[in-house]
Symmetry: C2
Amino acid sequence: MVETNYRTLDEQSVIEYIQNLSIFSADAKLTCREIGDGNLNLVFQIEDQLTGKKVIVKQSLPYARVVGESMPLTVDRNRIEAEALKEEGKYCPEHTVQLFHADPDLRIFVMEDLSDHVIMRKGLIEKQEYPQFADHISTYLANTLFYTSDYYMNPLEKKSLVKRFINPELCKISEDLIFTQPYYDAPENNIPPGVRPLAEQIWKDEELKGEVAKLKHRFMTKAEALLHGDLHTGSIFVRPDRTKVIDPEFAFVGPIGFDIGAVIANLLLNYAAQEGWAENEEEKHVVRSRLLQMAADVWTLFSQKFTALYEKDCHDPMFSQPSFKEFTMKEIFSDTLGYAGCKMIRRIYGLAHVADIDTIKDDVKRLQAQRLALAIGRSLIINRHQVQQINEVKALIQSVE
Amino acid sequence: MVETNYRTLDEQSVIEYIQNLSIFSADAKLTCREIGDGNLNLVFQIEDQLTGKKVIVKQSLPYARVVGESMPLTVDRNRIEAEALKEEGKYCPEHTVQLFHADPDLRIFVMEDLSDHVIMRKGLIEKQEYPQFADHISTYLANTLFYTSDYYMNPLEKKSLVKRFINPELCKISEDLIFTQPYYDAPENNIPPGVRPLAEQIWKDEELKGEVAKLKHRFMTKAEALLHGDLHTGSIFVRPDRTKVIDPEFAFVGPIGFDIGAVIANLLLNYAAQEGWAENEEEKHVVRSRLLQMAADVWTLFSQKFTALYEKDCHDPMFSQPSFKEFTMKEIFSDTLGYAGCKMIRRIYGLAHVADIDTIKDDVKRLQAQRLALAIGRSLIINRHQVQQINEVKALIQSVE
């Protein structure tokens, strides 16, 4: 791909760039900070010193920053992210970060600043409560997933959506990191001390590997709805009263359960991490009950809202049949559990971990948390078709402990 | 879409066109006949009167000829067909019509002439035997389907294949004609005398409609391999010693069982049609046994060849696990039966029928054949997960009679 107009911006040139858009008033006194901590993008925060108004400018680097230019990555992911924000914003503006401007040539877009929010992973590690989270995220999931699926869309428009969101390179990252590398002794794995014997057990677990292969193949081939594609708690900004999803650069048309599973997996990773974070047994019990309830509520509310949309807005004479709708909800449920399980396992000893677990200082407790996360992950994958209701998942998790 | 360079050719201008390609020698004495009987394309046969050498030129009309300009159809299907022939020719040249030249601007391609072959549907109606057909078509199916699937392909290339073969309008035709209109009293249905009560039974059959909805959704979302997309016996040219597949304008990346099911459905439609064609009970028995064996052989040989390719050329560490491979073959089998069933039903009272059935002169016998085809179709759909082996299908079909 020839990137003739592409050049990376810095704190100075991004100000010049933004002044040409009509986002700030002409007399704005703009300052800029690069605040990115990812490895794929530059992220600038622009502030008008006169009014305090802020926006974020995100630019894709043509390579993964952490590994330098040795791992080239198409900057097309910037177009995908901006277009995904547009689609998600169409169906769920209240929980999608607002997009102000997109510039495919420079692989840049401008969006709402959310610095009065906190990244949910950080909030959960600090044991913050988010009593509205399950309600908010289930609204996001039900709306964005239903309205971009064949249960709703005109089939011609759906195919064009699939085409626009073909995202080979970022899907490949998921295929490798989630569904492949953790299941053999891949050099990319990042195996913490003490975890190797547990990983070795998984590498010999033919039953588990067979089930993960099925989930991988579904991930690669089931074009059910437009997914966020990377909906962990690091892609969600929260305040007690607000929930905003960011970063859909992994967006593609895939199986609905993958997004829901990502949310639940990250709640359960924090659940496992309470091994290390809870001050005492009582607090551990309280926080865990809260997290389990939140995970259960995410599914229950999603399923209620998705079903309601389905009943209101599915006009296909075949797909509106009750038995098909029931079958679909069951498939989405088993996918959700399976993908949640895969996402838990990969975060323990795959390439990229989660802070919830890795920042536990006590070696023994951290290993307990890792062991628990792996056991829950495995159980979710293996039992995903047997479990009928989300409450059975609670029992299943408690039985694993 | 702006079609600046597009113009339809006639028998004169097609000769001028072909003279500029280096397919015939400079002194060739070319004649041309338009031989198309479809409703979507012009088909010209060009012959060199000096050598007898012939080629076929196919040009897509920008509308469906049969209904005039009221049903616009993108001429992009010509690009799809030419590119599909190229892909299929790469993996199975011996059973794919040879492509000589493709011209995306004029929506034209030039291919091998097969006028010394016969369209298989016609041959079957004439009770011809094709003892090598199952072997040939199973080679075509195994090769074209395996090498365009994630069981083999590099995942980045696979996604680009999916993108190139997004085929919304022709998929919509299949979605409507195969999976939707036959299941309610759609005005597009073409219901023969006597068949209406049978159709009405299907419209009330909630179990069947639920299963067809599942197959429809898989058809629309399961991007498993590059399909021919319309592999009935009218898309296959045969001689006793040769089998050549033509007309992949419906090509898209979909569920593997759809192509295999199409072949089997059309053998079974001819099986049902023997109600009207056989001279006596003995001949009926002989021809039917032959057709059933052929249908069974198509599956058995496909499954052997596909498995052999899988074992030789699947390098994905997850997909090469034995339990996943076994699961995949089972899924392809149940899809095959389900899609075969759908394709039988739609050919009885949907928009487009098959000559095997419709040209039976005797009203009573024709209705018997129609009734039998519908019953076999329903049984294949409903029982597709219970049936374990192709031999059980024989028993199932015989039990339906």
